[in-house]
């Protein structure tokens, strides 16, 4: 298919660091091919800025095929932009009209301080993972992989949860900046598998405690997280987390 060239106005957030107030900056782009990706459009903007002696817009990206979870930006008010189940890096310019104004902002959440422009600090996710988001297995101590059969349904459910790329769109989309979808995806992956059972109750309590410590908001069942998730992780995982957390507390399981 042939792609047209379009003109764009870009309204992009600039912020020098966590303590800077930040502001929007306006730029115009002529001749953007609709065949290129959204981040390639930003590359072209940055080229234009560089040649004009202006520092380019900082934004995270690496794989540019929707799997590493680096890219993280609010496009026209939506985390990762308007396409469902799509990361910003997989969004293409054919979804934008000629003459459109595009507003680009960073993830906004207390637990994700802005480092610069569109780049935020998501280390809180790593710290939650450190609080038990694993199965304790020493290298070399595993039994044969087929020793424990796992039904296809359970394996598929675990996989659906494990597909999370840790981008943080769920937090950015949530009016409370809650991280429940991210945390529940990890909890749910392991809860569906026999290997995850020995540490199940300890894990859910520790990860939830760490999540609270990181100043993520509470979940009030809005559901924006699922709508924004580029991997379409289901809010049913949150129900599972809540159930496991309550059970662990009632049974007074050790933390």
């Amino acid at each position: 298919m042939s792609d047209r060239n379009i003109r764009l106005k870009v309204r992009v957030w600039r912020q020098n660091g966590p303590n800077d107030k930040g502001r929007f900056e306006n730029h115009e782009l002529a001749e953007i091919s609709q065949g290129i990706s959204f981040l390639e459009m930003l590359d072209l903007l940055n080229r234009q800025l560089t040649l004009a002696g202006i520092e380019p817009v900082a934004f995270d990206s690496d794989c540019r095929e929707g799997i590493c979870g680096s890219c993280s930006m609010i496009i026209n008010g939506m985390a990762h932009g308007p396409q469902k189940g799509t990361t910003a890096c997989q969004l293409h310019m054919r979804h934008f009209e000629d003459g459109a104004t595009i507003t680009i902002e960073p993830w906004r959440a207390k637990a994700f301080p802005v480092i610069k422009d569109l780049v935020v600090d998501r280390a809180a996710f790593d710290r939650i993972q450190q609080a038990g988001g694993y199965i304790s297995v020493r290298t070399g101590s595993a039994p044969d992989a087929n020793a424990i059969p796992i039904g296809k349904e359970a394996a598929d459910a675990a996989f659906d949860a494990a597909a999370c790329i840790g981008c943080g769109a769920c937090v950015a989309a949530c009016p409370n900046a809650s991280a429940m979808l991210f945390v529940s995806a990890k909890i749910s992956q392991f809860a569906h598998l026999p290997q995850g059972q020995p540490e199940r109750w300890r894990r859910v309590q520790r990860m939830v405690a760490q999540m609270d410590e990181e100043k993520f908001g509470a979940c009030t069942n809005v559901g924006e997280c699922e709508a924004a998730c580029p991997k379409e992780i289901s809010v049913r995982n949150i129900a599972l987390l809540n159930r496991d957390y309550l059970l662990a507390r009632f049974m007074k399981e050790p933390v």
Partner: protein, 637 residues
């Protein structure tokens, strides 16, 4: 310096077991006295850092990404090989070993490959225990599929996201060690130099990418697991941050660079589109299990694919290689696609594409079954191209994907620089001149989980390591040099962007040192690369400062290294006057246009010693001997 591979004596089946016993051990109480620096958190680096910390060593883990979970291993799609023989189709350690040596066109070290095949089964066990959700059958047991270059089903997979799932398993093991206080994590931190003290690799110079602060880290050994150098071509399937910097700086400090011209061009990628493209997207090789590759029989046939009748199509892989068909190895499939396009039979707007057609498979098993196997890949294809591959065949073309060459290592995965260990794609050791599909994940995890934890102990138990700290003259010299270079990059303020210069280099490399190479083109490249390098240092434009997050500055440093590395790569390609695997020298082909090896002259590893920027590096040869596999002209007919 002579190159000693340190391959143990004895029958190939017993080498690794015997060697593990012969390696000296570090007393458990002494392990905590040793500090190991691990650079990179992909499958190799992440698994090494976690496993070394479990053993009791003090580990520092560095990565350039904002989280270790985002290392580029995450993007691997298709699967991981293991000689489990769960399919009961005749697989064995021996067969995996044989396929890998043959697939690598007899340019890898036999003993390393055998060990890789031997370890492969334990990797699957380890990953399953960590909760990696591999594909399963209804009975609850693990499912397998076939991959290129093999006639058995030995590939374990997690939909089209195997790399992601394996990396998350490895990342969770690493996070566990951070939780236990055994690993210090340094994300968004880039290694800018290697510190060598008394001939031993002892530390690294780093730059904190957020604050710009430069530091020295000293330890007892340095492990590099920093991936491949595919971005030297600018366009590739690699991540935007993938680079050669860590490996190149180690090379400039004395580590040999081996077989840099061995690069893999993957046959099934989405074709290049427009001039502003930043990366190429791979479509997993697993698609060739069900997709059939074809072009029109006639030159310049511009009809839509659906309008070309069956008898006017050329299913050229099935025709040329009846026994492997669409599942020939990557180098063979890529070259065949190039030949079809060079003959004027390519499809699409540019004529640089061939069809990968699922119509027969959909007719046979239904659209839902195909969606179940490849749903995410089809979805990705549609997002990028705007076309529905269930209805119309995919258009694909080869793209740079993986680099078999890398820093030279011995059997212990240690470089010629004592104390420097190199793992995964960053080393050269296991794939020869062509890597088979689903073998990169296997090698990364084998190196990190099961090889280096033993061999590093052997080194630490016997090496004499003198006390040293950041004030050591060698450390300060390296730190000073790195600071100067940052200032220099910021000082040019020229008229070209880093991307522009990187793209110029990429074009030279793709045209002269890509899918086909010849002496004349390579010689031209040796004139062109220094000119771009010179222009870079006179005319590059890096805005901003070195005191905060500056992504252009990061990239500029990496491109500057590619501009030096590229020359060594071309020199290596020029020196090797034979075709083998991914290295196709047009002067050396059979009558049927297949790669013609020259075992008499080139059955060696070319390990290059750095002599200065623009100076010809010195060649050291490690002769390859094959005691267990008979060298033949590789055939997939």
């Amino acid at each position: 310096m002579s190159l000693k591979s340190h391959v143990p004596e004895g029958a190939i089946q017993e080498k690794w077991t015997k060697h593990q016993f012969d390696l000296k051990l570090v007393n458990p109480a002494n392990k905590r006295k040793f500090e190991i620096i691990v650079v990179g958190t992909g499958l190799a680096g992440g698994s090494a850092a976690a496993s070394l910390a479990e053993l009791g060593y003090k580990v520092k883990s560095f990565c350039i990404q904002d989280s270790p979970r985002r290392a580029h291993s995450i993007a691997a799609q298709g699967g991981i090989n293991a000689a489990k023989n769960y399919a009961n189709d005749g697989d064995s350690v021996w067969r995996l070993f044989y396929d890998t040596v043959k697939g690598g066109d007899y340019r890898s070290r036999e003993a390393n490959v055998y060990r890789l095949a031997e370890i492969s089964t334990a990797i699957i066990d380890q990953c399953v225990a960590q909760g990696v959700p591999f594909a399963r059958e209804y009975g609850g047991l693990l499912d397998n599929r076939s991959f290129g270059g093999a006639q058995v089903s030995r590939t374990f997979y997690a939909r089209g996201q195997t790399g992601q799932q394996l990396l998350l398993g490895c990342y969770s093991a690493l996070m566990r060690q951070v939780d236990l206080g055994a690993v210090d994590l340094y994300p968004r931190t880039e290694m800018l130099d290697l510190i060598v003290i008394d001939g031993q690799a002892r530390g690294i110079v780093t730059r904190n990418l957020v604050t710009g602060k430069m530091d020295v880290h000293i330890g007892d050994a340095v492990v590099l697991a920093t991936g491949g150098y595919g971005r030297v071509f600018y366009l590739s399937t690699n991540g935007q941050g993938s680079n050669v910097t860590a490996a190149w700086r180690a090379h400039k400090r004395g580590a040999y660079m081996a077989n840099p011209c061995f690069t893999q061009i993957h046959p099934t990628c989405i074709p290049v589109h427009g001039e502003h493209q930043s990366k190429l997207t791979l479509m997993s090789e697993s698609l060739r299990n069900d997709g059939r590759v074809w072009v029109p029989k006639e030159k310049g046939d511009k009809r839509a694919p659906g309008q070309i009748p069956e008898n006017e199509r050329d299913y050229y892989l099935e025709r040329r290689y009846p026994s492997f068909g669409n599942l020939v190895p990557r180098d063979v499939a890529s070259r065949a696609a190039k030949q079809a396009c060079d003959e004027g039979r390519g499809v699409g707007e540019t004529g640089l594409a061939v069809y990968l057609d699922f119509a027969d498979a959909i007719k046979r098993v239904g659209e839902d079954a195909i969606r179940g196997k490849y749903g995410n890949l089809f979805h990705m294809y549609e997002k990028i191209t705007g076309e529905n591959p269930y209805k119309t065949p995919m258009r694909i073309y080869p793209a740079v994907h993986y680099t078999m060459g890398g820093l030279w290592v011995d059997y212990n995965l240690m470089s010629n620089l004592p104390g420097l260990f190199v793992l995964g794609e960053a080393n050269f050791s296991d794939h020869g001149a062509n890597r088979l599909g689903a073998s990169a994940l296997m090698q990364g995890l084998a190196d990190g989980y099961f090889v280096v934890p033993y061999t590093i102990g052997g080194y630490l138990a016997t090496a004499k390591i003198a006390p040293a700290d950041a004030t050591h003259a060698a450390a300060q010299e390296a730190l000073g040099g790195s600071k100067e270079r940052i200032a220099k990059l910021l000082g040019v303020r020229g008229k070209k962007t880093v991307d522009e210069l990187h793209r110029e280099l990429g074009l030279v490399m793709w045209n002269r040192c890509g899918m086909a190479r010849n002496a004349e083109g390579l010689d031209k490249a040796l004139g062109e690369i220094p000119r771009i390098r010179e222009e870079f240092w006179k005319n590059v434009n890096v805005q901003g400062s070195g005191d905060d997050l500056n992504q252009t500055l990061e990239l500029a440093g990496r491109v500057a290294d590619f501009l030096e590395f590229a020359e060594t790569m071309v020199i290596d390609a020029r020196e090797r006057n034979e075709s083998c695997g991914g290295h196709f020298r047009e002067e050396s082909q059979t009558e049927e246009n297949e790669a013609r090896r020259d075992d008499e002259k080139y059955s060696y590893v070319a390990a290059w010693e750095y002599k200065g920027v623009g100076e010809r590096p010195a060649l050291h040869k490690e002769d390859l001997t094959f005691e267990n596999v008979k060298l033949t002209q590789r055939s997939y007919k």
